[in-house]
Amino acid sequence: MSELRKLLELGPTSQTIVAGVYAWAVTVAPVGFGKHGPRGTQNWVATIFATLAFLALVRGVVTEVLLRDKADSQKALEQSRTLTLFSFATLSLVTWIVDTDALSPVRLGPARGVAGMLGWALFAYASSAPVVEPVPSPARVEAGIRARGRVERGDAIFVGIIAALALALQLVGWAITSPERGILVRVVTLGAGILVLGGAGTFVAARHGRRIDPSPRVRQRNAGRAPLPLGWVVALVLLVAGGLLYALTQ
């Protein structure tokens, strides 16, 4: 009973295992336990390796439970996590190699492919950056810490609009028949969305920045004026003019 309680209290360390089980259930188990043979036969070698991959995860959980409360077990825990990562990934890879037919587009639908990709990404993320567990020490009160600034309502609305526009870019190009061009459009729209959000973030951050002028004389001379990045503005105007000229002459 106490062992079961320990398992339930794994907390942050269980994240890797949960992500691993999800990835296994979506991508490895159907390959190992499905019947993809010519007459509905099962590939027993793939079944064995799929089972071993799951057992590698179970071994990781058991080791976490056994070592967690022991003193000076940090190094052993790290070694166990590394072993879990590599053994699970290798055994899953062998399962796929043994039964490649199960990964053909006929058997592996796009939805399951995306779900599996998500599961492996979660497993990789949880393995590379495990959550730091809280240290049970008494809380300290320190004076002089500045409170975080509140997000202004205007900023939130502005960023919300920009995020909606960045998402709206994803509506373009879903009726393309050629897969290569479809992927290119997705790359362009994703990159564009990220850059637009970045530009909006710069603008919002600058709204709350301080203006530091070098001297009162310069401040007086430039009262209310900010310098203009002439080079880039000129390049922009030239580019627009060139595009218009090209469009008009065609």
């Binding site: 920009i162 526009l165 870019l169 373009v172 190009g173 393309i176 061009r181 290119l184 459009v185 362009v188 729209t189 564009a192 850059l195 637009v196 970045g198 530009g199 909006a200 710069t202 603008f203 600058a206 709204r207 920045g209 301080r210 203006r211 530091i212 209310g224 004026r225 900010a226 310098p227 203009l228 990045p229 880039w232 503005v233 390049a235 922009l236 580019l239 627009v240 595009g243």
Partner: protein, 57 residues
Amino acid sequence: MFRRTALPLALLAMVFGAFAAAAWTMADGNDLACIYFIALALVALRAQTKLTAAVTA
């Protein structure tokens, strides 16, 4: 006001418009126009970043 708010906002709108046009032309198969709009968007974005930095520096 113009240089601190209106111009950066106009440039940001230009960035979005150019990227949307790039995606549209890419979906239509017009690669040359797509490259042009991506270049336009990147130059506008750089101008906006530089202007914002100059205003706050």
